[in-house]
Symmetry: C2
Subunit: 173 residues, 2 copies
Amino acid sequence: MGTHAKVLKAGQMSLAKPTFPAPDHDHGRCTAEAMTHAEQVCARRAQKFTPIRRQVLQALLSSHRPLGAYEVIDELAKSMPRPAPITVYRALDFLMANGLVHRIESRNAFLACAHDHDETSMVAFLICDHCGSVGEIPAAPVAQSLTAAARASGFVPKLSVVEIAGTCAHCRK
Amino acid sequence: MGTHAKVLKAGQMSLAKPTFPAPDHDHGRCTAEAMTHAEQVCARRAQKFTPIRRQVLQALLSSHRPLGAYEVIDELAKSMPRPAPITVYRALDFLMANGLVHRIESRNAFLACAHDHDETSMVAFLICDHCGSVGEIPAAPVAQSLTAAARASGFVPKLSVVEIAGTCAHCRK
DNA sequence: CGGAATTCGTAAGCAAGCTTATTATATCCC
DNA sequence: GGGATATAATAAGCTTGCTTACGAATTCCG
């Protein structure tokens, strides 16, 4: 069997790129794009994109797998004196506050947000149990029905966590 | 607010209660019910509802708030020699395997399942940021659309985590 | 009864996640 | 320049979540 180079049905939602990164995609370029996007976001908001913040984001971008804080530290340690936890946590807080990084609750881990999705719209995470990589899918319609159901019981939703574990297309062979 | 269709198997009670527990509800009775339900489930499945398992469930039932493993230990320590972590984790595993307890991923905590909901159907959790209590809402329709969206990108979902943080009706005053 | 299987207790330990406290270094802006 | 403000580094430590290893107790069942 050759590569199951199945072209993903692009008809899905309103997302240009495939929601799941192909294992052979041009990762260098995809991280570069994410970095310039981060720069733009920070510039627009007059936030300082300092070296340590940049390096933490870079570490997270090194894969499409969520990394625990200590994994980030290990990653950074390869190219600089090992940073203290607090240093990394501060950078992560900053990156999350600016929508550049997501926290994957069910894994206690952090994921660089690869796409430039609308900040207000909700996303769901697809977490592959096999290769560990994570895809994002827009979950606006889902969010709507969830929100409606929640409100029906007098609950005012603020933040939603939708994380789905399973097997991604590339590992399902 | 919509009345969601209740398709229940014989022997199961209905989901007639509000999804969120009122602060002044008859908690003694609600835990008693949950205990007898647990007994029935265990009996039906020929599982042993041992004292320690019973006590762990009781501890979780002491509030509608999810408790961390160590909080459970603290709770148990009030009425017995402090149990070791492994003891509690074993009981929790058992209770989860039998659908009597949920794990709240975003909190690393455990919650006694108050209602007797259909085991196959999916639930979403509403977590109040203020009082910490948790309500459950049926999320079958949501699950369906999520699953469909996931499959569209070649992903095969196995386990879904839907946890919504916000403010409950009783704290919103 | 007596062996097998399940459950429980004891003891110890480890890694991850996150924090507090304090001092140093940039950066901004007047 | 120089004070105020934001950011980072250093150092230390705490809590929680969870595990391994192993022996004792209990229960099941032929």
